[in-house]
């Protein structure tokens, strides 16, 4: 349920970004619609599906005021146990267990690195060559596009992200996500409030 709420918040924030572009005809109905449906869904899940409300009232009746907190405390205790004995969790993954911690890292062979190097060099040549021709505003777009392709190769192979665990990818992706948010909100602000030079 928490996931559902978070995704709806993402939808709302995405719609918010585009409000300045599409005007107020589209934004508010979507935002209000999403919010109302999430509240309705949440209430349904709480009361009918999980019976949380029923249990909460029952707990209250059983043990006075603090009754509602008991399941929460139990959950917290479970979490603390998990942190104190990470071994039990680690072993379950069946990753390693050897005393010397045998590494099973994917070693990328040298030809792949050479290939990536060539791709990066070709990308540089393309960037420089395209800049000599005047495409107007497209010059910036092409430059950023080629740079992003090059960056993707560096991240995937040089930084081993292609063979890394999911968590590191998510961590780095979140950095770019928040950078995108910053760019999107700044662009929405600057293109609607100030007079911008249209011809780059």
């Amino acid at each position: 349920m928490e996931l559902f709420i978070q995704y709806s918040l993402y939808i709302i924030s995405c719609v918010c970004i585009f409000v300045p572009f599409f005007g107020f005809g589209l934004g508010p109905p979507v935002i209000i619609g999403t919010a109302v449906s999430v509240f309705a869904g949440n209430a349904y899940a709480l009361i009918a599906q999980k019976g949380i409300l029923k249990n909460f009232i029952k707990d209250k009746k059983d043990s006075g005021q603090s009754g509602g907190l008991v399941p929460v405390l139990e959950e917290a205790q479970k979490l603390i146990d998990g942190i104190e004995n990470p071994g039990s969790v680690m072993k379950k993954e069946g990753h390693h267990g050897d005393e010397h911690g045998e590494h099973h890292h994917h070693i990328i062979p040298i030809p792949v690195y050479v290939g990536v190097l060539l791709v990066l060099l070709i990308g540089t040549v393309i960037t420089v060559a395209v800049a000599q021709v005047d495409f107007g505003a497209m010059n910036t777009v092409i430059a950023i596009l080629v740079a992003t392709i090059k960056a993707a190769f560096v991240l995937a192979f040089f930084m081993h992200l292609k063979y890394d665990n999911m968590l590191n990818r998510v961590i780095f992706g979140s950095g770019f996500f928040f950078l995108m948010l910053l760019i999107a909100f700044s662009a929405a602000d600057i293109f609607t409030r100030a007079s911008v030079v249209k011809t780059f």
């Binding site: 911690g101 430059a143 780095f172």
Partner: protein, 242 residues
């Protein structure tokens, strides 16, 4: 780090980790978090650049013509090559070949030095021309060129700010503010990265790394690739797009 190499050539992980792999993953995750803060730090500068470029495009157009794209391209190739040798440095450590690893890391440091030498020539040329932002900006030719560029623009694409000649003269050094701050911060990263690579190179030469344990090399490598990554974006934005 508390990694201990025993006499039989094995490594022992710190007591609060489950295994060497566990320790490696945790350390690497920390480096990735640090990389995110790096991306966000430079990201703020990139967003500022994009905002001011969309407001005062002529300044950026004339400004980038003052940079030598040939030197910029050479620096790009140098940095990409250094990223490649850094990856090889990690590869040879993974393969238990310290000798080749030291050579690869030394080449990386050489590339970093070459980058900084080229940067030095670029900077001293700019300072010589009086293109330093702030009260030291003495290059009136640049301001005149911006004014000329704006006068050649079609009248319908002019904004109120661009039509204000005094304002444009005053804020013309803005481009070099961006140039010096962005490449300066990046250059600082190159210097720090070179020092870190030297540190792992010495440790590799001393035989403190191997296929079992090479976490610092991997961490420094990630840092170095991020430095490369930022330059991949900096180069076209500052040198080519105008």
């Amino acid at each position: 780090m508390s990694i201990v190499k025993t006499e039989d050539g094995h490594f022992h992980h710190a007591h609060h980790f489950n295994s060497l792999s566990h320790q490696y993953d945790s350390a690497k995750q920390g480096v990735w978090l640090f990389m995110v803060t790096e991306i966000l730090m430079f990201g703020g500068l990139f967003v500022a650049y994009l905002i001011y470029k969309s407001l005062y495009a002529p300044i950026f157009h004339v400004g980038s013509s003052y940079l030598d794209w040939r030197l910029g391209s050479i620096n790009t190739v140098v940095l990409i090559t250094s990223s490649f040798t850094m990856a090889l440095g990690i590869y040879f450590n993974q393969k238990n070949k310290p000798k080749q690893a030291v050579i690869a890391l030394a080449l990386t440091i050489l590339c970093a030095l070459a980058f900084m030498v080229i940067k030095y020539f670029e900077y001293s040329h700019k300072i010589h021309l009086g293109l330093v932002p702030g009260k030291y900006f003495t290059n009136t030719e640049f301001q005149n060129k911006v004014a000329e560029y704006i006068s050649n623009m079609p009248i319908e694409s002019l904004t109120p700010a661009l039509s204000d000649a005094n304002l444009m003269k005053k804020i013309a050094p803005l481009y070099f503010g961006f140039y010096f701050v962005m490449t300066g911060l990046h250059g600082l990263h190159v210097v720090i990265g070179a020092c870190l690579i030297f540190w792992v190179m010495v440790k590799t030469a001393k035989g403190q790394f191997g296929a079992e344990y090479y976490t610092p090399v991997e961490g420094v490598g990630l840092f170095w690739h991020i430095v490369d990554l930022i330059w991949i974006y900096l180069f076209p934005l500052l040198y080519l797009v105008g």
